[in-house]
């Protein structure tokens, strides 16, 4: 099974999208969710989630709250904010625009 590192700069986008879809998640769940939805193709260097989440907290795109996991462990749950959704929209459009352009270049004969 081939695993690819995620393209640089897209980790934030992936986290935001995951949170927007799944609601409240803790760090491990975010990593799992990304891996699962990408059919195990995209692998996150799992630790790098945390600096990214902190940056997003500073920017107010997500909020965090301590909660309890199913296994009765304390975990910090992240939730996307309104500002986060706006940021997600912007980044998504920007990514799609670039990806589309790249795809067009590659498909041109």
């Amino acid at each position: 099974m081939a695993r690819d590192a995620i393209p640089p700069g897209t980790l934030q986008l992936l986290i935001l999208r995951t949170l927007a879809r799944d609601g409240e998640l803790h760090g491990f769940e975010i990593a799992e969710s990304i891996e699962r939805t990408s059919s195990a193709v995209l692998v996150v260097e799992e630790g790098s989630l945390y600096p990214a989440l902190q940056r997003m907290l500073v920017n107010g795109w997500v909020i965090a709250e301590w909660g309890t996991t199913g296994g009765n462990r304390r975990a910090r749950y992240y939730q996307i904010t309104r500002a986060g959704r706006k940021q997600l929209e912007t980044e998504e459009q920007q990514y799609l625009r670039i990806a589309g352009a790249i795809a067009r270049v590659l498909q041109a004969v």
């Binding site: 692998v43 630790g47 907290l57 500073v58 920017n59 996991t69 304390r74």
Partner: protein
Amino acid sequence: MSFLSSLGRRLRALVRGDRLARGLDEEMRLHMELRSDRLQAEGLSPDEARTAARRRFGNSLRMREESVDAWGWRWLEQLGQDVRFAARTLRRSPGFTTTVVLTLVLATGATTGIFSVVNGVLLRPLPFAAPDRLVQIYGRTMASDLGLAAPDPIEGPVGTIELAEFDAQSTTFEGFAAYDLGTRHLDGQGGPERLTAVSADREFFSLLGVEPVAGRTFLPDDPIDVVVISGRLWQRRFNNDPSVVGQTVTLDGQPFTLIGVMPERFQFPYNAASLMDGALPESRTDVWVPAPPLAPLPNNVPRRRARVTARLKPGVRVDAAAAELRVIAQRVEAERYAGTDRRVGVRVRPLTEEVVDPVRRSLWILFGAVILVLVAACANVANLVLARMTVRASEIVTRTALGAGASRLVRQFIAEGLMLAFAGGAGGALVAVWGTNLIVTLGAAKIPRAHEVTLDWQVFAVLFGGCVVMASIFGLVAASAATKAGGQLAKESGHATMGRAYGRTRDGLVVAEVSLAFILAIGAALVAREAIRLRSVPSGIVTENVLTLHLTPRTDAQDYYAIEQRVAALSRVRGAGLTQLVPLQNWGWNADFRVRGRALPGRPIAGLRYVTPGYFRAMGIRIAHGREFTSHDAAGSPGVIVVNEALVRRYLPNQDPIGVGLDRGTIVGVIGDVRQAGLDRPAEPEIFYPAAQNVTMASDIGMSLVVRTEGPPGAFVGQIRNAVREVNPRLAIFNVKTMDDVLADSMWELNLYRWLITMFATLALVLAAIGLFGVMSYTATARLRECAVRLALGANPAGLGRLVLRRGAWLAALGLVLGAVLTEQLLMAVGSLPIGGRPDAVIYAAVTALLLLLALAACLVPAIRVARVDPVTALRHE
């Protein structure tokens, strides 16, 4: 907006910084555990699972750091590290730290303290409305009327006739307010209290432009029996009770209506003590009462003379106003005093000058001295810091090699400097508070405006800011030089490089320190010489085991004589007597006299003293000729007087003074001279009356009881109090002092300056010694290897030690020469010093010797180190 909310979140994160970091750890640990659980479920062994989980997570330390970085507080965290690091480093070199901090503490504290006094007394405007338009007006003094001094000084009170003319004719003045000082006794529980009273024109308060804190001040139509009291009296006697306004108080047995209270700070006139020629124990004024209106006297006799403060019209210059008054004065002299020898003079001077002139020069000189100390302190700190940099070169090399960035090094040096500055500043604030209070307390009675002095936090802030800036600059310079030198050092692996860079600077700093110490030591030596001189001056009295007590209010001669007899009869009392002016405490009270049947050149004047028969013996005054008073010199018997030797020398030389008739009585005795006004002021002619023959002439300030005891006089106060009460229960006793204390108090100014200047000089000397020691130690260390080689080649160890000593002596000598030149320059600039006169060869020699000794002592340890160096150890060490 989003920036602000982001900042808000950051600040919250900063406040919860610890929790954030701990939370991160917990989150990341959970993540790895969950991952490992998952992998175990997939079939890995626990160990394999943990390793794989860690691998998939990545470098958790880096992640944690990056996460914390996201909040943007990394620099603060690093600052915390820097500070902790600096604290550790400073703790490791306690000698350096203590010296620098103490230097900063004393320098900032002393400078702030002295400047607070200078600012409060000399620089701040007087607390009156438009104080620059207030002037003091002087008339010709009695002494000059009597032809004693020429040219006539015009520095006394103004005659009422002239004043009325000034008021009527002048166009440059808004108004004049005459006032006089005296004492009044306030009746109350616990007996009467003596107050310093000012009787003033009703325009007095409005002319100064001051407002009361309760009630009102004088109105133009106020009767004569109203009184305004000081804030201090209000607090002391009336508990700050506003309802006392409108009540009746009793002054000298007369009812007065209390109409107002002045603020605590208000004081007028300022130098009350000196205006009463030492007759008042302190300079604060307590009550103000309206003076009787100025009424020109019909026979042109100027019966009343008053101190006068006036207000100029806006825009009028002092000299223009003075010129106008002089014209009026000449007219008054020609019209009103024609045919008499009375002359009218007038002088106008800004009120501020009148108030602060007595201490202006002394305070500025003290300020100059403290600035010298500050400069020496700065030089010393710079010197120490440079020395430390040199020593730390190898540490810097190591740290640079381990990857410390230049900016981080700079920050660490600055952190170190700042810690020193803060510690020094905090201590300095304490010293400043303490020192200012001390000076104010010591000088309360003598330094005008002392009660207005408050600690000047602005000055402190400036000095403290200076320390901080200096610390930062040192950090920068030191770190940049260190990093630069570090590279070379790494190659050369010696430690001479940085030494060469700083050597000249440090030598210069040491020379400067020595020269400053020299200047201050000369100052201290001058004051010490004066103190020694005064101690050997014959005061004319014997101060040991003598108690003085002031009795108030005045009573009749019978009471005074009865008190003297009763107290003298107490056991272990050797003698007792009363005088109205205690030597070294009160003086003044001069009047003219004539010798019957003979004309003396000029018009002789003498101080008048009223005493009881036992006084001379109790005070230990020598009877030179004739006899002292006895109880037979009573009201009914022929008028007799005793004079002092100064009077005989000046007015009755080459004859037997006993039996000479003066218009004030027949001389029956001559006593030895007593320094009445101060140890530094020679005795003036004096005439003593027996109190019984002249009690009505005695001053209204009451009389002082002088008691000579066997053993410490403090134990006798109770008995004496009882004896006085038995004679007259109305008499209160206060100002109880031993004569030794009176003597010490009379030298307060000298003592204050001696204390301060000695402290400054000691500080400068210690700083210079530390500086020299530092430089020589460094030289010794730097040349240790060279010396070791020389020793190994057969050099004489003592010779090597002398090498170090010689260099130290050379630096000290340079400093001494510079100091001597600067001292001469300063003396030329300042003119004469208020205390101590000019330094002579003895003082120069003594101070030079002291400094040289100190310099040699400072160099001795490094020299011995060089001489005793073991070649093998030193070379191996390298």
